[in-house]
Chain length 454, copies 2
């Protein structure tokens, strides 16, 4: 039979087991932190009905949608009526609108699932990738204090992930929009264009931004002080003080200022280290979707990776599906891309191997004893594998080594007679003999793990 | 704006948060048990290249495939080149063949992901559902001892899931195939047809099966003793003894007998309770894919649910992709269907709420103290939510109740002055005052959890 070349579609990330363990560890850290802050889990189907998913007609997003149809529908030439989700926000909106009466508000959900985009295949662009989202959705209103909670969670997560120093850059879109209105730029389309230029600040530099802003109608006299404020390098309290000195009385600006002050105070009460959350007015985020606080997270040593965790405050989550007003604030970690970047930079966190002990097969006469020893170690909380294939010890040790299993337990007739076992500690390249009775205690000392639940 | 009716596609299971926690708990139990037995994780993309996924031309499976294509490809009238996986076995075969050199054999992987089938929409049929698979893949050979390990894992899982008494029914296809060959039925197509009739035994009864077998060419003189053996009601050792008394010398039968004896012995060494694993020769499994041991798992009180966990031994996993011979043994738990059945029968396991403590917002002046208290409780390992919306206490208590949060912590100016907090225990409908310093210890006593890692 001619063989089919086994291969994955371009734009997908498939890992070998050792790396999958690291990925899984990162997912676990994220999930545990979301839960620790009292967020509840939901999952939604990978595909949605096309008319439900694609509420906005046209646009970039729709070009990247993957449509789904069964063999039968395809053969009959039907139009597809299903499509894969391209983010977790639209499914969240649909979920909240659909289950509105059964949910308690503020609704605090986390959702860790894969999303799909029909991207052009290129390096660093994924067609399937994990998003790890949290959102708090209010009914009619949502206090600005919730905006401070999200950075506290992100700090916890990235400190535990050990992926290097990081900074959450945040701002409030109302500030710049209010200032622009005060300068006489009241057209929202023009405001949006200016914010998009501000967003490019670090990439293209102050001079180009200045030229663009003047072209967009900002008077020369205000452009310089505006850009000086935007590029403020001071700490939160200094930037806040300078913002307070602005003369504009635009209500949007004043509201943004109040929200920002509230948030800064809450960040302190939540113990968010000062250097981890930086007020950065250049963070404008192009999306008009966001209406208040916005966040981006950068790994300090790798600003070229772009934001690894972004989000913000929005006025109304689900206006396509319900007349209820559902303001919210949310954040998303794009784990697949982050993992890919960490791996390329040889910066993946160290994670213990999931399998901890291999019980070798030395003497077929003792196969019952090997199985019983496995039961005993598992009962004591060790992830334990029995090697059940008759094979030379050397082959079994190579297997353990290739699999990353740290300990190999050897039990031959001599040890059996003495009531002992031999343990090979592959990392330490050491071997020791221990009484069977003391084995578990010894392994616990060598491989401590917080929770061995038996 | 006219609203779009928010709804999920038929054939998908979407849960409210409280049920999602139960589902997640079940996934966690399965994953932890797979890991405890030394299986390693992999994940594969939801879609595969069409020519890789659909190696077998035609057939039932292909009619149920969901094809995937991007907006652009659809507009240009291209044939789809991607399809959603319909199980985890084909992706496993592709994975092992693709990464063969990098994997250590025996390769023991678990994989817990959703699969997709373009089924006709009907009750109990899912178009998207979770499969929780484990397989052990050998290179060239795989010892029969591995066949005994899988039931040991399944026993651990279903005991921990607390979904009621259950029995793993197992057999070895070589036994019946060998007996049939001994009776002169050597045509493999005819053997397969007979096994399919045997599989229906419990559904259609002995008489109908007898008639079918005779129609299929089994002589009347052997049909009765054959069916008597097949329907043997004895324990493993009795059935084994009766099998040993069979006169056939067919090598396939003798090999099946040796594998079975080996497996029964290993089940004992693994401490699998006798009543949990029953040798049942009626388990033939229609699929020719299986070549030796086969398993089905029934919830004792609900045989009408069918098998909740099935699998078996196969000779060659990936012959479409590689010339390496890769025998294996595996099992799959269909969790979505099981969950749906348990829910319909009001049999879902009790699982603690993920959010444990709600800190109410009583006095806006104390909002910093509420946030700091949240930090403290999270640090002590409690999943803790701060209610940050100004709202009447009654509304906040209703929120906790609707969300299933067991404890609400109240801190007003009086308590603050005294250095105490009030705790409402919603389940016990009780309230108590405790010093701030003793709060954590008190909550730990009321809500013990094995691992609070801070």
């Amino acid at each position: 039979m001619p063989h089919i070349q086994p291969r994955t579609p371009p734009g997908t990330l498939e890992l070998l087991p050792r790396e999958q363990m690291i990925f899984q560890h990162m997912l676990d850290v994220i999930r545990r932190s979301y839960e620790r802050f009292g967020f509840v889990p939901i999952e939604t189907p990978a595909f949605e009905l096309k008319d439900v998913l694609l509420t906005k007609s046209g646009g970039e997003t729709e070009k990247q949608v993957y449509f789904v149809q069964s063999t039968g529908a395809l053969q009959q030439g039907h139009e597809p009526d299903l499509a894969l989700r391209f983010d977790l926000t639209v499914p969240l909106a649909r979920y909240v609108a659909e289950h509105e009466r059964e949910l308690a508000f503020p609704f605090r959900r986390y959702q860790i699932q894969r999303v799909y985009r029909g991207e052009r295949a290129q390096k660093g662009r994924f067609r399937e990738f994990y998003q790890c989202d949290i959102d708090v959705i209010g009914k009619d209103k949502l206090d600005p204090a919730y905006d401070a909670e999200l950075p506290a969670i992100i700090v916890r997560i990235f400190e535990e992930l050990k992926t290097g120093n990081f900074t959450i850059h945040f701002s409030n879109r109302k500030l710049l929009l209010g200032l622009l209105a005060g300068y006489g730029i009241k057209d929202t389309a023009k405001q949006a264009l200016i914010l998009r230029e501000i967003d490019k600040f670090d990439k293209i530099g102050a001079d180009k931004v200045r030229t663009s802003l003047i072209e967009l109608g900002l008077s020369e006299s205000v452009t310089n002080p505006f850009l000086q404020l935007v590029a403020h390098k001071g700490g939160k309290d200094e930037v806040l003080a300078d913002l307070r000195r602005q003369k504009t009385e635009e209500p949007v600006f004043r509201q943004g200022l109040a929200e920002l002050a509230h948030m800064i105070e809450a960040l302190k009460a939540l113990g968010v280290p000062n250097e981890r959350a930086r007020l950065n007015l250049k963070i404008a985020r192009g999306l008009d979707y966001y209406t208040g606080t916005v966040y981006e997270t950068l790994i300090d040593d790798h600003p070229e990776w772009g934001s690894v965790c972004s989000g913000g405050r929005y006025d109304d989550l689900a206006s396509f599906y319900t007349k209820s007003k559902l303001p919210g604030v949310g954040l998303s970690i794009g784990l697949t891309r982050l993992f890919d970047q960490l791996r390329a930079g040889h910066l993946l966190p160290q994670v213990p191997n999931s399998v901890e002990v291999l019980i070798a097969q030395i003497d077929p006469q003792l196969s019952g004893a090997y199985l019983a020893l496995g039961v005993e170690l598992r009962h004591a909380g060790f992830n334990t594998e029995n090697y059940l294939e008759p094979a030379k010890l050397d082959k079994q040790l190579k297997y353990a080594d290739k699999s990353g299993i740290p300990f190999v337990v050897l039990l031959g007739p001599d040890e059996k007679a003495k009531g002992t076992v031999l343990v090979k500690d592959l990392a330490a390249k050491a071997q020791f003999e221990v009484t069977h009775a003391a084995l578990i205690e010894k392994l616990r000392a060598l491989a401590p793990r917080p929770a061995r639940e038996g």
